[in-house]
């Protein structure tokens, strides 16, 4: 049974204690999205300083994978430039074998490109129906960056 691979401790920790929870006053970028098939929701607010993410707030509701993934994502992009974030998004999609992904291998030496806690989400790949859950926060992030 791969359940322990799916529900790794770090994922459950992010699910129970989501990081950067809430909303920002006067966000510079914001977006929300939902997965119409399961109803999971994510809302993201962003602020920037010197071209880097200076503040991020996430709200949402849904399964452990969608909420934990969004929480991890919020940690991973703090202090990153838009370019670094694009790279992260591509690397995340690569890890999840999603379209538009690059470089599925995790390369901790590549500057700004470590996926950190996110790597725990690799177990999700064995559950194709749950990949959408893991991806939701990142899709909303992309929308926010374009907003």
């Amino acid at each position: 049974m791969a359940l322990e691979e799916l529900y790794r401790e770090v994922i459950l920790d992010h699910y129970r204690n989501p990081r950067n929870r809430g909303r920002l006053d006067e966000p510079e970028a914001t977006a929300e999205g939902m997965n119409p098939l399961c109803g999971d929701e994510i809302h993201i607010d962003l602020r920037f300083e010197d071209g880097k993410v200076s503040a991020i707030a996430v709200e949402g509701q849904g399964c452990s994978i969608s909420q934990a993934s969004a929480s991890m994502m919020s940690e991973a992009i703090k202090g990153k430039t838009r370019e670094e974030i694009s790279d992260l998004i591509a690397r995340f999609r690569g890890m999840m074998s999603l379209e538009g992904g690059t470089d599925p291998g995790i390369d901790p030496d590549r500057p700004g490109a470590s996926l950190g806690d996110m790597e725990a989400l690799q177990g999700v790949r064995q559950y194709p129906v749950r990949i959408k859950c893991a991806a939701l926060g990142w899709t909303v992030l992309q929308d926010a960056l374009q907003s």
């Binding site: 359940l3 799916l6 529900y7 459950l12 098939l37 109803g39 849904g62 399964c63």
Partner: protein, 403 residues
């Protein structure tokens, strides 16, 4: 329960050992149904109502025999049975075909907060087009229709009462004969979404007292692609066709068309012919077991499940806690664990349940949950399926540190 036959050998898909508890979404199909369709396609297939040759006569006879079989199953007349694509299309045909003709600004449509979207969204659409208003009967704490509130909301401006025959999310079986009686006194038409009811309990449309009834073949051991709209003849006569096309006309000129007699008027185009043969076989199969037996089996499994589930730490049961006027559908949540995670964990235990809003988002809001995991039983289920579920739920509790 003693006495109920073990039917699993008729369902090849169960050979993998899957504990299939999602018949509320769609049932599996017995070989008797699959073989009936295959045989028909290999020996008697042609389009219906169109040909003057033997194959077409054979196909037409088979198609109309299926209509008669449905009529007999429901205690209805042959011409009151319309074949559609499914319960959703049946309900849309009623909402648009009857509603657009008969609803005016100020008229009221009364439905319930526990409807499937199929018996809600079409009425929203029709309300917007006609200027009628939509109102909803609330539910009580234990997931039953609040009949006092129904009587308060019922007045002579209510033109149609659209109610589920059995909730697909809670299992509740409202007292439709009583509701229909009150609604008729108030001069309203009664539409029953019987997508969950007809597969699980004997329905006699005259006793039910409805004007219109909708259900799908795929939830009652039959194929996808076909469903039924039943209407009392006087109600069908008030309905305009929802679709135009071949086979539903009496005459067509360049600018005008007149309609064929009922039921053909409501069956534009080539109908689901092979599927009708499959539905016929499914009804034969159900009747060979006996609808009373089937409902008793559902209720037995429900009673067992309600008891065993209540022993699992953190599990909440939504809807009625006993088996009175309820079918074999149980919605649960687990503290601190999302329904989707439950479904994934149960899947790893070989248990197939559905997690989500069950196309009943307003009800979910009413219950204060985003999603539930739903067990639903049918003729092939056994107590072992419940045991496997309980095992899986305990594992979920462990993983998520519940209890």
């Amino acid at each position: 329960m003693t006495g109920f036959p073990d039917l699993r050998a008729d369902f090849p898909i169960l050979e993998t050992g899957v504990h299939f508890l999602d018949s509320g979404a769609s049932s599996q199909k017995p070989i008797q149904v699959l073989e009936a369709m295959d045989r028909f396609a290999r020996t008697s297939y042609a389009n219906v109502h169109r040909g003057a040759y033997k194959l077409s006569v054979a196909a037409t006879d088979a198609y109309e025999a299926a209509r008669q079989r449905v009529a007999d199953f429901l205690g209805a007349d042959h011409d009151e049975v319309v074949f559609t694509r499914g319960a959703t299309t049946s309900l849309n045909s009623i909402a648009f075909g009857w509603g657009l003709e008969h609803l005016r600004p100020g008229d009221r449509i009364l439905t319930t907060v526990m409807e499937h979207h199929a018996n809600l969204v079409p009425w929203q659409m029709v309300a917007k087009r006609t200027g009628a208003t939509l109102d909803h009967i609330p539910i009580t704490e234990d997931g039953r229709l609040d009949l006092d509130a129904f009587l308060e909301k019922l007045d002579e401006r209510v033109r149609v009462v659209a109610v589920t025959g059995m909730s697909n999310a809670l299992g509740t079986i409202p007292d439709v004969p009583w509701i229909a009686g009150r609604a008729h006194e108030a001069g309203a038409r009664v539409v029953v979404d019987a997508a969950q009811l007809v597969p699980h309990r004997e329905v006699d449309v005259r006793e039910l007292g409805a004007d219109f009834l909708a259900f799908s073949s795929h939830k009652m051991l039959g194929p996808t692609g076909i469903g039924v709209l039943w209407g009392r003849m006087d109600a069908l006569e008030e309905m305009e066709p929802f679709e135009g096309g071949g086979e539903m006309i009496a005459d067509v000129t360049l600018h005008n068309a007149t309609w064929a007699p009922i039921p053909h008027r409501f069956e534009a185009g080539t109908p689901p012919i092979i599927e009708a043969v499959g539905l016929h076989a499914a009804i034969d199969y159900l009747d060979s077991i006996g609808m009373d037996q089937i409902f008793a089996h559902d209720q037995h499994l429900t009673a067992v499940a309600l008891e065993r589930l209540s022993d699992v730490p953190g599990v909440q049961i939504h809807g009625p806690r006993d088996t009175e006027n309820r079918g074999g559908v149980i919605s649960i949540t687990m503290d601190g664990t999302h329904a989707h995670d439950l479904a994934t964990i149960l899947d790893e235990h070989g248990v197939a349940v559905r997690a989500g809003h069950h196309c009943a988002k307003p009800l979910m809001r009413e219950l204060g949950v985003a999603a539930t995991a739903r067990l639903s039983f049918y003729v092939y289920n056994t107590e072992e399926d419940i045991d496997a579920t309980v095992t899986g739920l305990r594992k979920a509790g462990e993983l998520f540190g519940v209890g």
